[in-house]
Symmetry: C2
Subunit: 320 residues, 2 copies
Amino acid sequence: MRALLLDKGLRIVDDHPVPEPAPGEALIRVRVAGICNTDLELVKGYMAFRGVPGHEFVGVVARAPGAEDWEGRRVVGEINAACTTCPTCLAGRPTHCPHRTTLGIAGRDGAFAERLTLPARNLHPVPDSIPDEIAVFTEPLAAACEILEQVHVRPTDCVVVLGDGKLGLLCAQVLALTGCDLTVIGRHEDKLDILARRGIPTALDDGDDSTGSADIVIEATGHPDGFAAARRLVRPRGTLVLKSTYHGSFDADLTMAVVDEITLIGSRCGPFAPALRLLERGSVAVIQLIQARYPLSQAPAAFERAARPGTLKVLIDVEP
Amino acid sequence: MRALLLDKGLRIVDDHPVPEPAPGEALIRVRVAGICNTDLELVKGYMAFRGVPGHEFVGVVARAPGAEDWEGRRVVGEINAACTTCPTCLAGRPTHCPHRTTLGIAGRDGAFAERLTLPARNLHPVPDSIPDEIAVFTEPLAAACEILEQVHVRPTDCVVVLGDGKLGLLCAQVLALTGCDLTVIGRHEDKLDILARRGIPTALDDGDDSTGSADIVIEATGHPDGFAAARRLVRPRGTLVLKSTYHGSFDADLTMAVVDEITLIGSRCGPFAPALRLLERGSVAVIQLIQARYPLSQAPAAFERAARPGTLKVLIDVEP
């Protein structure tokens, strides 16, 4: 099958073996896949991943041995394939299973290919009312919902989202639904306008490094230097949610986080069911986030485009 | 008056001016003061403090204009002198008041002197049953209690305290009172024995860097390299409490904290009232933590002793 392969670089191959679903797994025909910032980091060396990247997708179940009910259904899929039997899984934290594989990130080929496999239990049927180009946002929107799983955001809280990239715009829209006093700080007037048109207050980041007084700050810049800026915006005893993952570590002055008794919360993959509900209800705008679409055969060019500063979501149409 | 002065170094001066209590403040005759790791960091340049260090003390109120009830009482004192009127103070976070001075740390001369001043509202009377050399532990014990103010430690939680220094031994004893499944990891058999004799499980840090599965880890090593070790010990979605403050920032790999969705909580000064209750009830052993006592005239030697690796609490007898 055709696939985008990451080894020494990115290249299209036409003879990648079709993956064979293990018992309990489904073979999925990918329709549309999205390029995430994590994919760009994988190319730089994050997770030392080699294989087919891609973890944001919508597709149709081609074959599901032992779970035939799924066959023919249009689905999205949670990306962590857990063992289900270890203490971490049994404690209700399967997305942190130490034996897990992660679609297109660790130990499992991903969605920039004509077929992928996932455990059937990871799948969620997509309501007919949600078109592919919206359904493909389920995974990143779930990651935005994860913030509300982890932090009690009160309607009276003063909240700042730092970063107007793909994930920042989704986080901002999800947080706005709480009724909180939200401001989104970014560097791109056109992106902030997407939020402003939805009544969400925004501010251009002018490099002002005055301190802030936010109860909760979401660091979603995707850059290591976002941490210090986010840190300055949060009040003493406030909460700083870290959504960015990078290749490599970075300098963080945790001494001042101790002095100010900040709570830092790392936040990653989130729950699919509420993300699908929000998409079905039209509560979150995602179409406006699509910047370009490429066929799978031009996936390397799609990555180049996605890597340009200021680019929002680039989709890959895997099925013509 | 006699005082230990930190400017280009530490030296005893005999003609330091006696501080004048501002309205609402008390002038306190210091009896005993303790050397904290923060004091050692101040000498290295932390907070760029110049003046009289020292923030752990017990003393007697000499004069309290407008609050004469306090005069003659033996007291301990909370170290942050807040403005009481700014939004941070009015939000119930006076220890984070941006206008605060902090005894012997920022903007206010401290306890390694014959006299100090503090707002009368910062004072707590010391019950007669608590001798000076125990009462002087109120401030660091309050800092240990702060962990329980910030984190809900369940009796079923698996908790690790990393570090067997002064603060680590106090944190461990406070956490043990919750009934949690506690292990203290340190590098000094003699210090760990203080806990082992009280039935608290301990382990010598043998440099093993296997990953752990603790629900909560307290980083109390006082060294920047303690962070990575603490990070390895905490389970995904677990909580890491940071008690150490250092001069300068340090490398922390927050990317892995995001991937594992760790909650990091900076923790500093704590509540005095519960600390005094624990001391009065004898729930926490502190006498065993005293390693040496020096008169104020030999305070520089006391600092040298306190800075030696492996030294527990060094007290300074300010009043002969």
